[in-house]
Symmetry: C2
Subunit: 367 residues, 2 copies
């Protein structure tokens, strides 16, 4: 296997207060790249300004794109830099910034230099939010990385958050999440029958078992999630995954749909059903997306195994995905039995966005 | 002034499981760019692989960098895209991904496509964390943008968080922050004398005034911060900034150093001093950095105006900046009087990182 091959990509943008004299910018900045003995190639458009490309003997390269409407963007990519190499690049970017400020004397609306984007590193630090924003995590170690037949399972170490679980690119597991999906501390689980759908990191199970329930059944499809979390997420799951059976709980490694169907047929009922499977699908065409169908099926079956005064807890999605959340709420009106619901917005620190949680219950029939 | 000129920069990276046959990658991907009628320029290194640059008539361009160690990175920058243009770019990236998967048949360790980086937009969404990570906020409006003689003051609207205050690039103001710097709800402010250093958004003042203190004095240097927040941060400051004097508070628009010196000389004492000025400096050479000197001076003066059983509250910094925090704690050992301290880690949602807060008090002398 190749050694970790990481490139550092720097960007520096100038938003000008007026249209740019492309030629003046090019002429002004050229000497900086020439000083680095970089080889220049220039492409010019009739109406679209310039692209200058600079290559360095050591394999690094830069692009300078001058848009006539008043945007100048510089990219600088280098490979396997040491600290000295990084300082050198900062030095070049500083020079460019100084030169641009000389050229435009106070008429630059914004200078923006982003933190280096690290590309192709062994440790991937970029895990976008559910609403598609670019977020860099403080990951410093890959603890576990396995492909199961269902998903990619990663456990990564975050400096702030400790080990975090990432399933097919989505960050999971955070005590704030677990508490919210359990009803934010307002429920009495003592002596109750609880069904957890998913929940492979063991967090919900661990927290509920502490509360002396009668029986908790957790149905998780993916043995490899449990294996990874038992070993590396012990702050989340404690010792609860060491055995698949405890005094007041059992873990079934199964697809939850047939289990729910079986329970429904047997007439088994739970005080709480906690759906920890997936967030509300982002796709906003339920008719075309089978995940919505899946979600509807789970909801319907869950209602069938829920006691008349039971509660169903589930995550929604990021608060910004208003359309998807509205669609979800519409789905709640289409179940086999009438339900009511409430929602709560919670900050889940490791998600880097505010998250919506739902409580659903069967509508009380008037007597 | 030029219209907002935004470029969208897409990246797509392939981390290979082995060294790359650079020529095969180039030959494999060329047809995709040629189909777009893009003009190609190739630079090859003896030991460092290829850089291919592609320019399109419409002003967009792509770079394809093939590193022999096993990294292939594609950049695609386009200007003022409509949705159709974006779909087209996604289509090109999909093609590249498909082709790479054909070429390498399961030996690709990672395919990474980041959300588009928007460059030079009128609304800047990128506000890195204190520990230097790249974070994109859900900003959709610039509400206020002024340069005072002290700093740049921005109030931006976040879809999740509402209006947020950004002073010289640092995100400020969040109810979680305000509560933490007030002692996390464990203090009784009734009938107390309170001094707030900074606090221009009015958040701390507003929350304390609700608690029936005897007198709160807030010393903020920057009138423009107060002006902006009074108008656009009313969820934070309520009506407390409408007048600089209220029944139990006053706001001084002054540099806090001379005010502290005056109070110290007069022998004025407070039950609480809340330092909302700045975070602990990130620089780790206190001897070379005047912000450390400033911080030390503020601390010393604050202790002088603090009652014997009073408390001093302040923010530290991001939990990841352990060195800076350690240095700060060392500073606490160098004040004119012996002090003790405790610290607390709090999730401040809009910071996107965990934040450390300090409580400092004068050491009780044994009798």
């Amino acid at each position: 296997m190749a050694a970790a091959a990481a490139a550092r990509h720097r960007t520096l943008d100038f938003l000008l207060g007026a249209t740019a004299d492309c030629n003046a910018v090019l002429k002004g900045l050229q000497p900086i790249f020439q000083q680095q003995r970089m080889t220049e190639t220039i492409h010019s458009w009739e109406d679209h300004g310039y692209l200058a490309t600079y290559t360095n003997k050591n394999g690094s390269f830069a692009t300078l794109r001058i848009y006539p409407h008043g945007l100048v963007s510089v990219d600088l990519q280098s490979y396997n830099d040491d600290m000295k190499g990084r300082d050198k690049i900062d030095h070049i970017l500083n020079k460019i910034e100084e030169r641009m400020k000389e050229l435009f004397q106070g008429s630059i609306r914004r200078v923006k230099r982003l933190p280096a984007i690290v590309r192709g590193d062994a440790i991937d630090r970029y895990w976008p939010t559910a609403d598609g924003r670019l977020v860099e995590y403080d990951i410093d170690e890959v603890v576990y990385d396995e492909d199961s037949s269902f998903q990619n399972i990663k456990i990564l170490h975050s400096k702030q958050f400790g080990n975090i679980l990432i399933l097919s690119g989505d960050v999971k597991s955070d005590l704030a999440y677990t508490k919210a999906i359990m009803g934010s501390g307002k429920e009495d689980y003592t002596g109750k029958e609880v069904l957890i759908l998913g929940g492979g990191d063991g967090g919900i199970l661990y927290e509920i078992v502490k509360l002396k329930p009668k029986m908790v059944t957790m149905v998780e499809i993916d043995q490899l999630v449990i294996d990874g979390c038992r070993k590396y997420m012990r702050k989340t799951c404690g010792d609860v995954l060491d055995n698949l059976k405890g005094e007041c709980y059992q873990v079934l490694i199964e697809d939850c749909i047939p289990v729910l169907k079986r329970y429904a047929k047997e007439g088994r009922k739970f005080d709480y059903v906690i759906n920890d499977l997936t967030a509300v699908p982002i796709s906003t065409s339920p008719e075309e997306d089978s995940t919505w169908e899946f979600l509807h099926l789970i909801l319907d079956l869950s209602m069938k195994v829920l006691k008349q005064d039971g509660k169903y807890f589930t995550q929604g999605n990021c608060i910004n995905l208003t359309e998807a959340l509205t669609l979800y709420e519409e789905q709640l009106g289409k179940l086999y039995c009438p339900v009511e619901f409430s929602k709560e917005v919670v900050c889940v620190p490791s998600y880097m966005e505010l998250w919506v949680f739902y409580t659903v219950w069967k509508k009380r029939t008037e007597i």
